[in-house]
């Protein structure tokens, strides 16, 4: 676990480097006894997003978060994973009984005036997005979240997804020809770094791969990274997975219009 002093030090260095925004992830960030001081340190200098499972919230904690939010000129985003709009669809992915606990957390956040971003992993084919999103929206609207904010994540073929769905096939790597004409600014690793108790890593998904370790301090972790992992393929296909919608910009050079000019 990172200490408050470590986090404050990294925040200071990030500011020197011109950081635009902060994300907190875990594990579960709200299990840390000093998470509120950490968020306060970051919110003093930039916008903050916390990725939480929403199962640790109490009215007191949400009130404290609301005070942090209101004291900062920047946005405090709370992003909560919900992988289905029923226990039957969510719990096999997020754990038994998690559906009800997550809904309870979301309800507390709504009462605290937050507009949490509900993040769902796409465990269905892409062409079902609209129907699935409608299911989530109906559920959330019934809880009083009239215009729910949603973020869909592609499924990374790692960890439990290997068991649930499938792993990457042997040939699923980025090749040089795929990188030709590709704007790497599209990927989070072109402009973002993750810090853990161990040091600086290239991205949150690769944090356990030894070669994703870039050094002890953010100033050492600036080198460009070769997209050598299979998970990089998913980022390549779907864009900066971890960024908020408010921070993503697609490449300007892709998807030329096909067919006849209608004018």
């Amino acid at each position: 676990m990172m200490s408050l002093a470590q986090v404050e030090d990294h925040v200071r260095k990030a500011v020197e480097l011109g950081v635009k925004e902060f994300y907190f992830t875990g594990g579960e960030p709200f299990l840390h006894p000093q998470i509120e001081q950490m968020l306060s340190a970051a919110l003093a200098v930039g916008p903050v997003t916390v990725l939480t499972n929403a199962t640790r919230f109490t009215p007191e904690r949400v009130a404290a978060l609301a005070r942090l939010r209101d004291a900062s000129p920047y946005s405090l985003e709370l992003r909560t994973s919900l992988d289905g709009f029923s226990s039957e669809t969510n719990d096999p992915i997020r754990g038994w009984g998690s559906f009800q606990r997550i809904l309870h957390g979301i309800r507390l956040l709504l009462e605290g005036g937050f507009l949490p971003i509900i993040t769902a992993m796409r465990s269905w084919p892409v062409d079902q997005d609209e129907a699935q999103l409608a299911g989530f929206r109906n559920l959330l609207a019934a809880m009083g979240y009239r215009y729910p904010r949603m973020k869909l994540l592609p499924s990374l073929k790692l960890g439990q997804e290997v068991r649930r769905d499938r792993g990457y096939a042997e040939h699923e790597y980025l090749t040089e020809s795929m990188m030709a004409g590709f704007d790497p600014g599209h990927l989070m690793c072109s402009s973002g770094r993750i810090v853990s108790a161990r040091g600086v890593h290239v991205c949150p998904i690769l944090v356990d791969w030894p070669d994703s370790y870039l050094g002890a301090s953010l100033h050492e972790g600036q080198a460009q990274y070769t997209l050598r992992h299979q998970a990089c393929l998913t980022c390549y296909q779907f864009g900066a997975l971890c960024a908020n919608a408010s921070s993503s910009a697609p490449s300007l050079e892709q998807t030329r219009r096909h067919g006849r000019d209608p004018s």
Binding site: E21, S75, R149, G185
Partner: protein, 282 residues
């Protein structure tokens, strides 16, 4: 008493020729020294050729927005960065409408517009861009952009004032650009300099604040560093009811028409950060 230069900055025209004419009139009455357009001429509104005609006739310098880039280069969509299927549905609808009704001549003009303009006005180095100096379609929202990042932009792009429009929501902030950096060094007396970031808003649709007026910025640049630049946001009233009628006549979505008539964004809200989102109705 030294003088100053007052420039009018506007963007996000979104085919709103009525607001554009109101702006030209307003700027004339204020006696502004110059006007600059920061891009996104099409989208959202009807008859996209009209704003191109007006702007080309005036000779106002225009920067290329992501929409102009897409139209000019025949891309499949506007590269606005929407991630939500409903937002994408509306974005595609208005892009296809605008694409099919923008004449080839105007598309060629849009294709060759510059991505940025650099001006030197008195002692000030001014950089005009569409989204951010590093990317035409980067969002720089007021509550999602740190001072540290803005300071980095001023150093990296060697300027004192940056103006953008892309998000369509007006805001301005003065930040301290730390001393000791090579590119944008502290002044000779060692006092750290400031940088001013301005989003000039959009004149094509309201600012999601429940008012039907649209916004542009007037930047006053004193001819001495002893005084600071000043930003004033101007609220423009125009015949928005007539504009709504034109949109309906062209079969544009009622959701867009409601934004014009109520001042609230009805679509494309998913890209807003929490605080900006909480200020809107939807």
């Amino acid at each position: 008493m030294t003088g100053q230069t007052r420039i009018g900055l506007f963007g996000g025209v979104y085919s709103n020729a009525l607001a554009l004419r109101a702006l030209l009139q307003d700027a004339g009455m204020r006696g502004l020294d110059r006007l600059y357009c920061l891009g996104d001429l099409g989208a959202f509104g009807p008859y996209p050729d009209r704003v191109c005609e007006v702007l080309r006739a005036t000779g106002i310098p225009v920067i290329q927005g992501n929409y102009d880039h897409s139209l000019g280069n025949g891309l499949a969509d506007c590269r606005c960065g929407y991630t939500d299927p409903r937002d994408n549905y509306f974005a595609k609808l208005s892009y296809d409408y605008t694409f099919s009704r923008t004449s080839t001549g105007h598309k060629c003009w849009l294709a060759q517009l510059p991505a940025e303009l650099r001006l030197t006005i008195g002692p000030w180095r001014v950089l005009l861009c569409h989204g951010s100096p590093r990317k035409t379609n980067e969002f720089l929202w007021e509550t999602a952009t740190s001072d540290a990042f803005l300071a980095w932009l001023f150093k990296r792009y060697e300027c004192d004032v940056i103006v953008a429009t892309h998000t369509g929501l007006p805001w301005a902030r003065e930040v301290t650009v730390q001393a000791g950096c090579q590119a944008h060094a502290a002044q000779a007396d060692g006092v750290p300099r400031s940088g001013w970031f301005v989003n000039c808003g959009a004149i094509g649709r309201p600012a999601n604040d429940g008012r039907t007026t649209v916004i542009y910025a007037v930047l006053s640049l004193p001819h001495t560093m002893l005084r600071k630049p000043e930003v004033k946001f101007v609220r423009l009233a125009y015949d928005h009811e007539r504009f709504a009628g034109e949109m309906r006549a062209e079969g544009l979505p009622e959701e867009f028409v409601q934004t014009i008539l109520t001042g609230w964004w009805t679509t494309c809200n998913e890209i807003l950060p929490a605080k900006e989102r909480a200020r809107g109705r939807y």
